[in-house]
């Protein structure tokens, strides 16, 4: 079995740069695919709702925007598994290990923060937390609860994602020497 794994690694090693291309393309889609919708559509609609929480027109607009946003997150949520497959593949094929401290920090951020965030995001956008599904399953009150939950999620993850994606991309590009 180890011989077969070594053979597979040997076979993949000439494709390192191609795997890296797939990884980078997926990372770009994961980071940026929802940004315009979030900044220019979702946030203004929710800010209007926070200032006028009982205005029927504002609520209708908020509900439409979050429904579209749930669907728009599909690109991000296809890209993320591609990142999570191509990244470890690069680590393995490239022969990286924990002596590269910049990579250890990067992987800690990815597995310690991004993976849990994305798991919850899948739930909110496509599974039990999807607002369209929530309305069909539990009625308007259930949908409203899920929407509030999603808004909490977006509020709390926005600074984390901005801060730590910046650090992760910086580490990946510069491969800066950290430690001894």
């Amino acid at each position: 079995m180890p011989a077969a794994i070594d053979a597979l690694r040997e076979w993949l090693s000439p494709w390192y740069l191609e795997i890296k291309f797939v990884h980078l393309a997926a990372v770009m889609a994961w980071i940026w695919s929802t940004s315009v919708a979030y900044v220019y559509y979702l946030v203004p609609a929710f800010q209007a709702w926070r200032r006028h929480p009982h205005d029927a027109g504002v609520i209708a607009q908020r509900d439409w925007v979050i429904d579209r946003f749930d669907r728009g997150a599909v690109i991000e949520h296809i890209a993320f598994p591609v990142v999570m497959i191509s990244g470890p593949l690069l680590y393995w094929v490239g022969g990286w290990d924990s002596s590269a401290t910049w990579l250890t920090i990067k992987l800690l951020i990815v597995f310690g923060l991004f993976v849990p965030i994305e798991c919850f995001d899948y739930h909110l956008s496509h599974l039990g937390g999807n607002k369209r599904h929530a309305l069909a399953r539990g009625g308007p009150d259930h949908r409203e609860r899920k929407l509030h939950q999603h808004w909490w999620f977006l509020l709390l993850t926005t600074p984390l994602i901005i801060y730590f994606t910046g650090i992760v991309v910086f580490l990946a590009v510069t491969k800066i020497g950290v430690g001894p």
């Binding site: 946030v43 203004p44 609609a45 929710f46 800010q47 209007a48 926070r50 200032r51 006028h52 929480p53 009982h54 205005d55 029927a56 027109g57 504002v58 609520i59 209708a60 607009q61 924990s98 401290t101 250890t104 920090i105 800690l108 951020i109 310690g112 923060l113 009150d141 409203e144 609860r145 509030h148 808004w151 909490w152 977006l154 509020l155 709390l156 926005t158 600074p159 984390l160 901005i162 801060y163 730590f164 430690g179 001894p180």
Partner: protein
């Protein structure tokens, strides 16, 4: 613009955002620094990670994220500007 309808009130508030920003800044850095200590010091026996440099860097970074987190929470959830200073832009786009 439209009719008023009863709607549950969102539970976010500036006081809550201060606590949450602290939690985000300190919690995330405790997790990452703890992970680095486990990997570098406990696993590989490399003591540099418990030196003053990495600890100071982690503390400054946690402070930065706490400040960014607080301002982000307040801005994204429409707590800026305060109600008294809101202008004609306060409603956002018309439906």
């Amino acid at each position: 613009m439209s009719d008023n309808v009863p709607s549950p009130v969102f539970s976010g508030s500036p006081r809550r955002y201060r606590r949450l920003a602290l939690l985000l800044g300190i919690g995330s850095h405790a997790l990452l620094y703890g992970g680095m200590v486990l990997i570098e010091w406990v696993w590989h026996g490399r003591a540099w990670i418990v030196g003053s440099g990495p600890i100071a860097f982690t503390a400054v970074s946690a402070l930065l994220l706490t400040l960014l987190g607080y301002h982000s929470l307040m801005f994204v959830d429409a707590q800026y500007p305060p109600a008294a200073r809101r202008s004609r832009h306060d409603r956002g786009p018309s439906p």
